[in-house]
Subunit: 118 residues, 2 copies
């Protein structure tokens, strides 16, 4: 005893904080996108697409729209010719970054990269 949270604690209940976070950043791409924007500070759309390995146009645009709506990223459009658009993190998303970087570190420490064992 002492190492457990009370069994009554709402770990995975209906409106659990964890579930709500996962609704925000769940799915295949959002966490990766957030981390890349963070690493770059400010990124243009095309650069972002190149940095997030394997993402398609559709998914990048779609994910960005949702994250903008959810207050995680900011979009700044410069009406030059040709048009330039830059993305950056909101303060809110910024405060989540350290957690995501820890997750990344955990993966690097605990998971060997390996191809398929033949």
């Amino acid at each position: 005893m002492g190492r457990h949270i009370s069994p009554c604690e709402n770990m995975a209940g209906e409106g659990c904080g964890l579930k709500r976070v996962l609704d925000l950043i769940g799915g295949k791409w959002k966490i990766l996108i957030l981390c890349v924007i963070y690493a770059e500070g400010t990124v243009r759309y095309g650069e972002l697409r190149r940095r997030v390995y394997g993402i398609t146009n559709t998914m990048l645009a779609h994910s960005l729209r949702e994250m903008e709506r959810d207050g995680l990223v900011e979009r700044h459009q410069f009406d030059e010719m040709p048009v330039r658009v830059e993305y950056s993190l909101t303060a809110s998303a910024g405060s989540m970054i350290p957690i995501l970087l820890e997750l990344k570190r955990w993966g690097e420490e605990h998971l060997e990269h390996e191809g398929l064992p033949s």
Copy 2:
């Protein structure tokens, strides 16, 4: 400058640590299951199903098998009558828990529960 990681840092590249973690614990249920097992210390299958709100039999069993295979949970079967099975975290999964709890806290601090705005 100074606040950025080098642009060359592999944030979301092909074998990125982040991607590998997400392969392990991505999807709709695994993170929640891990946190519930942690909170209980040791849990029986049925208790787990009750605690993870909304999960189905199929998905719980399936997730548990994968996580066992991946070295995240341990299964202990007691051949009593009726049979009893208990799940607990491995040390490896345990070391990830603090990160997941931070994520949960982030959600609780930054996300109001709200139904649909009418």
